[in-house]
Amino acid sequence: MDSDKSTDPLIVMRGVSFSRGTRTIFRDLNLTVARGSITAIMGGSGAGKSTLLGLIGGRLRPAQGTVEVAGLRVSDLPRKALFALRQRMGMMFQSNALLTDLSVYENVAFPMREHTRLSDALIRHLVLMKLELVGLRGARDLYPAELSGGMARRVALARAIALDPMMVMYDEPFTGLDPISMGVIVKLIRELNDALSMTSIIVTHDVAEACTIADYIYLLGNGRVVAEGTPQDIQKTESPEVRQFMAGLPDGPVAFHYPAAEYISDLQQGEALR
């Protein structure tokens, strides 16, 4: 995997810094994603995982550093070139972001209708093929409001691969799913990645799923990469930060308590108010 990474990376982030207001999200972040791999980006809530996808997709621009996708500097691309690059990127949002006024069929057809001049007959073929892949060919006439959480996510997946992208970004694909739907999504991500020779980036905090599916894992914390490696490497790491995250311990380097004044003196201040 390591040799693969150095020879043919699809995404390279170098020295990336990014802040929202006064809050620093990333400080000198370095990260590469190998072509054809499934890379999981993990970290606690608020570690900036979704922000990372925003930077890769060019929706956000880094304050410092560079983000390269397929050899193109995303942050420097003019709008037209950025949109051309995005046609080769699929993205599955945590909220699925399905267009609520369109049916399942039209949602999957949407990118094709917007970006190609294919005939309706051909689009029908392609849409049914994508829906068949996710097992929802029979649900084509339903509307997003009529879908269960797991079904909606599968539709979002079918739409993300509608234009046969070189890569797909998944924002928290396992959140809020029942065990069966979760198993389906895990299987689909792996199979689609391999069958369509894509590169997948999964942002998640689900340790177990990430370890089963990912080829390589980045663990983020405090705006930097805390640990990286194959799932086996990560699980063997002795660093307390990694151990706390992987084992789900409530207290450790990531404190249980939000920073506050000393407990006793805080309570005593209430006494003074009497």
Partner: protein, 264 residues
């Protein structure tokens, strides 16, 4: 005491500055939207769809309100005119009131309440549910695909609705005047025909409604696109659309009427 005055003055200042800042943001938004307006004209089907959503669905309320306003105008107008034995001018009075003022203004107010608020809520909710971000990631510009067709549709719908409002209002007045008040139908129409000028009255009203359509649609799509992506944010934006549109319509109506009556 001084403190209260200073505080309320500074509060007033803050609000004025915030208002001016918002106006600036709305203007910048319009600037960003301008290229998309051109592009979206090439996909007229989307505009037709929105014209249905905004225009046709406002149609019933326009019909009913127009008919009632016309009937009320006939009753009130007759009541006054009959004192001077001038009831034969009732048709003219109704037609002038509707085409010059009430048609454009009331149609635009009703449109803002019925369709403008819906436009804001729809765009705001699309933003809150990441549908707009999703489009961007699919390399589709939401300004061109979502906002521009709605803007065009709103802009086109208001003048059409205003004309329908006036026409229905005149018919409503005719029913009351001839059916109930016993006026002669021929007199009703002939007075109107000789007294209403196409260039001054009808065209003047049309110009007003075109301006109202532009402003209401602009406010509606801006508020939706600028809404905080939360349920509270969307509900505030919807309210702001109705309030700002109504004030803008009435304010602009005064200015345009002043110019039209006195000449430039």
């Amino acid at each position: 005491m001084i403190r209260i005055v200073v505080n309320s003055l500074s509060e007033l200042g803050r609000r004025v500055i915030a208002g001016v800042g918002r106006l600036g943001r709305a203007a910048l938004f319009l600037g960003r939207l301008a290229p998309s307006l051109g592009v979206s004209l090439t996909r007229f089907r989307l505009i037709i769809q929105q014209l249905y959503m905004t225009g046709v669905l406002t149609f019933v309320i326009i019909l009913v309100s127009g008919a009632f306003v016309g009937m009320i105008l006939a009753l009130q107008g007759y009541n006054t005119l009959v004192r001077y034995d001038a009831q034969s001018s009732l048709g003219l009075l109704v037609a002038l009131s509707l085409t010059r003022e009430l048609g454009p203004v009331l149609a635009a107010l009703l449109f803002a309440g019925r369709a403008g608020s819906a436009l804001t809520a729809e765009i705001g909710l699309m933003k809150a549910t990441e549908q707009l971000a999703g489009m961007e990631m699919m390399a589709v510009d939401p300004l061109t695909r979502v906002v521009a067709p709605r803007f065009w549709a709103g802009w086109m719908a208001v003048p059409l609705l205003a004309m329908i409002f006036s026409a229905i209002g005149i018919l409503g007045a005719y029913v009351v005047a001839v059916g109930d008040l016993g006026l002669d139908g021929g007199v009703f129409w002939s007075q109107m025909q000789s007294g209403v000028s196409v260039t001054n009255d009808i065209l003047g009203g049309l110009i007003k409604s075109v301006v109202f359509g532009f402003v209401v649609s602009w406010i509606a799509v801006f508020e939706g696109y600028d809404a905080h992506p939360t349920s509270e944010g969307v509900s505030r934006a919807t309210t702001r659309t109705v309030v700002s549109s109504s004030l803008a319509i009435l304010g602009l109506d005064f200015i345009m009427t002043a110019f039209m009556l006195r000449g430039l």
